[in-house]
Amino acid sequence: MNIDELITAADPATQVVLDEPDSLAAARIYRRIAEQPPAGGRPRLRLAAGLGGAVIAAGVAAVVAVAVLPGAPQAPTGAQADAVLDAAAVTAAHEPAAPALGAGHYFYIETIETVDVGILNSRVTVTLKAGSSGQGPDFAECTMARQVWIAADMRIRTVVSPVRSRPGPVPRVCEVYAQRLSRNLAGPGIYVFVHTAGLPANPAALEQIIEARYVRGRPGSEPIIMSIASMMLQQSRSPAVRAALYRMLKLLPGMHYFGPATDRLGRRGMAIGLTISGLRTELIVDPATSALLEQFDVNLARGQRYCIPAHVAGGVPVQGFCISPPAVGAVIGYTLYVVSGVVHSETATIPAARG
């Protein structure tokens, strides 16, 4: 090769696969830029000054309704998801600021969640097989109610109790696991406490913080970001931060609107979510109250039957068993955000609203 050919051949850009303009990476960068104000510093979204919050929320909710109700002109589902999130953000921003927790006051959070207790733990497996209907370790998933009381000095009391999610007694393994989780703030697979103090009321900055603290560059991070944002929405008591969290969700590429939805407590809302690697993560949001009602995952992948042969674990013979993959379309985990608010003792609760 002559010198011209050598220089041309040395182009590093020919050694990599560049992202297409319609790739997820390009879309994500575009969304970041979309949060920047144009020349002159005019913000991307400015609410009309002087209007009451309720009026604004009602107006935006009406826009959402027009955008998503059956029979209305159909906007792209991404735009509809943005409309839902915008409406929830506007409502959240105009909620009264929560007073600081005083002595003897606690911030109370209640959730109901499914928890994977780990089917590959042989002792759990034995327990499960003994306690189930003989169909294998299908009780690997426990449904737990979790109550958390957070004091002003950040002392936290947690009570986790198993919930019967199907006919028959609660499996023993779920009771044991609930006891363990009651002593453990950050149990695996269950609602964890996230620090919300000092969070910025800026969507891009919030995503940056979540990525730095929890994601750390892992690919396919959108469901993780959704989960952490959900927890922050439940635990943050700042209207501005909650509004920013809803707007941050708009930054996630691939967010779609799935239509009106009812959560497992019968509360009505609107479902939005995204699909990553055969798993669709959805949130049910009520834009009228800014409440996040539920998060759940839907399996969309066709898995294979997975069998573990008989073996000896810790000197204990373990019978072999097979696990069937979840069906396509099956909900494989959920978190119900039941209620949260300030109470006056570390045992007081708040009645949950039902649909």
Binding site: M1, I3, D4, L6, I7, T8, A9, A10, D11, P12, A13, Q15, V16, V17, L18, D19, E20, P21, D22, S23, L24, A25, A26, A27, R28, I29, Y30, R31, R32, I33, A34, E35, Q36, P37, P38, A39, R42, P43, R44, L45, P76, T77, G78, A79, D82, A204, A205, E207, Q208, E211, A212, V215, G217, P219, G220, S221, K250, P253, G254, M255
Partner: protein, 199 residues
């Protein structure tokens, strides 16, 4: 593709930016890839360039000069990052665009291409940039002159000198067997004020 969000401003303004982004995203990305050692920072640079374009959309000339304008911004963004005097990453926050597809594939040390890259890294920055703009971005000398802000004649001279130095280096074998430094690294040697940025 996920539905891009609306960007505030008039429809015409947004439409123009969308067109600019879709039309030149890969070119700007390639520009950054060619000049950066750390591929994970490419998304930051791309975002910085297009953020600037969004803020200053009224200044972006019509096609085909718009791409040259973007290259000029990218050049300044990279120079600023190298100096480390301003943290452009704070402009829009740390970006986590998934660049798995930008799998780095550096040629083996000692291969002809590695030797070319090693030799290019020893060029004066202005000569190297002129050479890259002409050979890699495939710009004419006049177009490259717009990007770097000099005369077309100056670009011609820089390219000529750069090629002469490359020929000399390659024929002398001075760079054989070396692992090529990136432009980032080479510039750090040229600039006493260079400080690595912390990401």
């Amino acid at each position: 593709m996920p539905e891009p969000p609306a960007i505030g401003g008039s429809d015409g303004r947004e439409a123009r930016f969308r067109s600019l982004y879709a039309g030149h995203y890969q070119a700007v990305q390639a520009y950054a890839v060619r000049r950066m050692q750390n591929r994970s920072d490419v998304a930051d640079v791309v975002a910085d360039v297009f953020s600037t374009a969004w803020r200053r959309l009224d200044e972006v000339p019509p096609a085909p000069a718009d791409l040259l304008w973007l290259y000029g911004v990218a050049r300044r963004v990279l120079a600023t990052r190298r100096r480390g005097t301003r943290r452009l990453a704070s402009l829009i926050g740390r970006l986590e665009a998934n660049h798995d597809s930008l799998a780095a594939s550096q040629p083996a040390p000692g291969a002809p291409i590695s030797r070319v890259l090693a030799a290019m890294a020893t060029l004066r920055p202005a000569e190297r940039e002129a050479l890259q703009l002409v050979y890699w971005e495939q710009l004419s000398h006049a177009e490259a002159a717009v990007v770097v802000g000099c005369s077309a004649n100056a670009v011609t001279i820089r390219v000529h000198r750069a090629k002469a130095k490359l020929r000399q280096a390659l024929s002398a074998g001075h760079t054989a067997g070396r692992t090529f430094p990136s432009a980032d690294q080479a510039d750090s040697a040229h600039s006493a004020s260079y400080q690595p940025h912390g990401g």
